[in-house]
């Protein structure tokens, strides 16, 4: 659908001011199709705000967002999901009162355009249910299908958080600290699931664990105090003096 050299996702001069505080200040970013792009930066740099601007959860003070060349700045969040972009949340946003199976089925029905059908029976949606079983297998949550989300242990809740996003069949996936709060061993497992995603999915992820970032990212953008400090390959970023200064407690320029 997108032209060969058209970026899958592009932010142009995105800014967001909360009163006098500029959480994002003219951030430019272009993700090529299939990118594995990390967004890093110290706490309070505005990374989550940036994701919220991309998804439409927040309206930008200025700047634009393009999905595959189409300007989506004015579209509400759910319409952008319909264009293939979704996100995960830093703090789990799950359906505690639904079972794991129901949660994923809900997402799959929405993707397949069944979400508003009130005369169809969930028990008869074989294609949708098949999708859910495949997802459960991919996430290794098959044994927990019938478990109420509220009763899942934290690590599996985190997996379901990713699973819900995958269930929307995204072409662009924004991961806000996917491994936050889980032990190192499990966070590697989490990134294995993410790394196994096909190249048809473009990834942007926020992550604090530099080991994971340098292992999985092919390009890295560094955000400091709402501004883009630099962008480059992991090697370039590792050698960049300014980045080192920011991370070793120096003053941001």
């Amino acid at each position: 659908m997108t032209g060969g050299d058209q970026p899958a996702l592009r932010a142009v001069g995105l800014s967001k001011a909360f009163g006098a505080f500029r959480a994002n200040d003219g951030v430019d970013l272009a993700l090529a199709g299939g990118a594995r792009h990390a967004l890093i930066g110290p706490n309070g740099a505005g990374k989550t705000t940036f994701v919220n601007l991309l998804t439409g959860r927040l309206a930008p003070s200025s700047g634009d967002v393009f999905i595959g060349g189409e300007r989506v700045t004015a579209l509400p969040e759910h319409a952008r999901v319909g264009r293939g972009m979704t996100r995960t949340f830093q703090i789990n946003a799950l359906f505690d009162g639904l079972s794991v199976f129901e949660s994923l089925l809900l997402a799959v029905c929405q993707r397949r355009g069944q979400g508003a059908r009130w005369w169809r029976r969930l028990s008869r949606l074989d294609a949708e249910q098949g999708d859910v079983w495949r997802l459960l297998e991919q996430l290794r949550l098959g044994a927990d299908a019938a478990v109420l989300t509220r009763h899942l242990p934290y690590g599996k809740r985190r997996l379901l958080e990713i699973g819900l996003a995958l269930a929307t069949g995204p072409r662009i996936l924004l991961l806000d600290e996917p491994a936050s709060g889980i032990p190192a061993a499990e966070s590697r497992e989490m990134f294995e699931v993410i790394a196994a995603l096909p190249r048809s999915v473009t990834l942007l992820f926020i992550e604090h664990d530099m080991g994971l970032v340098f292992r999985f990212a092919e390009r890295i953008s560094v955000l400091v105090a709402g501004r883009l400090l630099c962008e480059g390959t992991p090697d370039e970023i590792a050698k960049d003096g300014r980045v080192r200064e920011v991370y070793l407690g120096g003053q941001a320029p």
Partner: protein, 352 residues
């Protein structure tokens, strides 16, 4: 997280069949449900003297069911749902007073009118959140109540709308003094509406309502138009409340201001708390219990029945959050677990 993880399945088996029955999606009519509806027919044969009361119980249940759609499923707490019950009742009543006495068409017109009022006010309700939303529902209810009071030339004001007459059901069954036809009529309409709501609840639309109740933020990120879903369900709930109101008007042949009153809105909420919200049958169990207790408590002291009702609601709120049905299903699940355990224990012993 390692011990109970399912071993990775061979990825080459690309399209795994539906491995097991999808958990929690069984929507076949259960035995208990059949028993329930047979019991609902029973008053016709067993309690001929209480049919008028039984009709009132069913109408209250239908009204509570319509509230359950938005409260128990979509998670909208409303303190003004009686607005739609009242609109339905007055529309059916006015039709009848002006000479259109045929009940079924009156029911349809009343439902449409309530649906339209519901649709128009849904934008106010859905736009806000939390306390704002609650206050809007309350305000809509109170405004309509006062409007009906002021427009006494049309509604009869505090005297109510009288002079109604309901013609024979299907031009066959006259509405008799004992209320036999009325009960049949109410039961039939209740059953049809119930089937509709039941179907809806087990559909993708119903699941998306529960999703909105559980986590609205996530629903946006799944691509669901949350506002539109809420407007749709609010409109439908209003129309169904209008059906209940019209049934009340047609079977009692009277419409008073209390059809729009706050007490009715609050009563339906209490019924759902007692019976269990978000459970379809909670509305029916709750309304039976509410009406029964109202008469028992009134016998203790006619003026203070609400005191005892309040005590009971508090008890339920503290000790049985899911209402009677929620409590019963918890107990049942625990019983099953215990039975499964005790069945497994001797087997383990013999193996050892």
């Amino acid at each position: 997280m390692s011990s109970d993880v399912v071993p990775p399945v061979d990825a080459s088996a690309s399209a795994p069949p539906i491995v097991a029955r999808a958990p929690g999606l069984d929507d076949r009519f259960g035995r208990l449900e059949i028993v329930f509806w047979l019991l609902a027919i029973a008053p016709l044969l067993v309690l001929p003297d209480y049919l008028v009361l039984a009709s009132q119980v069913l109408i209250a249940a239908l009204f509570a069911l319509s509230l359950d759609l938005i409260l128990g499923y979509a998670g909208i707490v409303s303190l003004g749902h009686a607005a739609f019950f009242g609109v339905g009742a007055y529309v059916a009543g006015l039709l009848s007073v002006r000479g259109h006495a045929e009940p079924l068409s009156g029911l349809v017109v009343a439902a449409l009118a309530s649906g339209v009022v519901g649709f128009c006010t849904s934008f106010l309700v859905v736009g806000g959140h939390g306390l704002t939303r609650l206050m809007v529902t309350l305000a809509v209810g109170l405004s309509l109540h006062e409007a009906a009071n002021q427009a006494s030339s049309v509604t009869g004001g505090t005297d109510g709308l009288s002079g109604m007459e309901t013609s024979d059901l299907l031009s066959l069954l006259p509405f008799d003094m004992l209320g036999k036809t009325a009960y049949l009529y109410v039961l039939g309409v209740c059953f049809v509406v119930f089937l509709l709501v039941r179907r809806l609840v087990h559909s993708p639309f119903g699941l998306s309502l529960r999703g909105i109740r559980e986590n609205e933020r996530r629903m946006h990120a799944l691509g669901a138009p949350v506002q539109r879903r809420l407007i749709e369900v609010y409109t439908l709930a209003a129309a169904l409340a209008g059906v209940a109101g019209a049934l009340s008007a047609q079977t009692t042949e009277f419409v008073g201001l209390e059809t729009l009153g706050f007490d009715r809105s609050a009563g339906a909420l209490v019924m759902l708390v007692l019976g269990g919200a978000g459970r379809l049958y909670g509305a029916f169990v709750g309304s039976c219990l509410f009406m029964l207790l109202q008469s028992v408590f009134s016998d203790i002291h006619p003026a203070y029945w609400q005191f005892w009702m309040g005590c009971l609601v508090m008890l339920i709120a503290f000790f049985a959050r899911g209402g009677i049905l929620g409590y019963a299903s918890d107990m049942l699940m625990r019983l099953r677990e215990r039975r499964a355990l005790s069945a497994a224990a001797p087997a383990a012993r013999t193996r050892a």
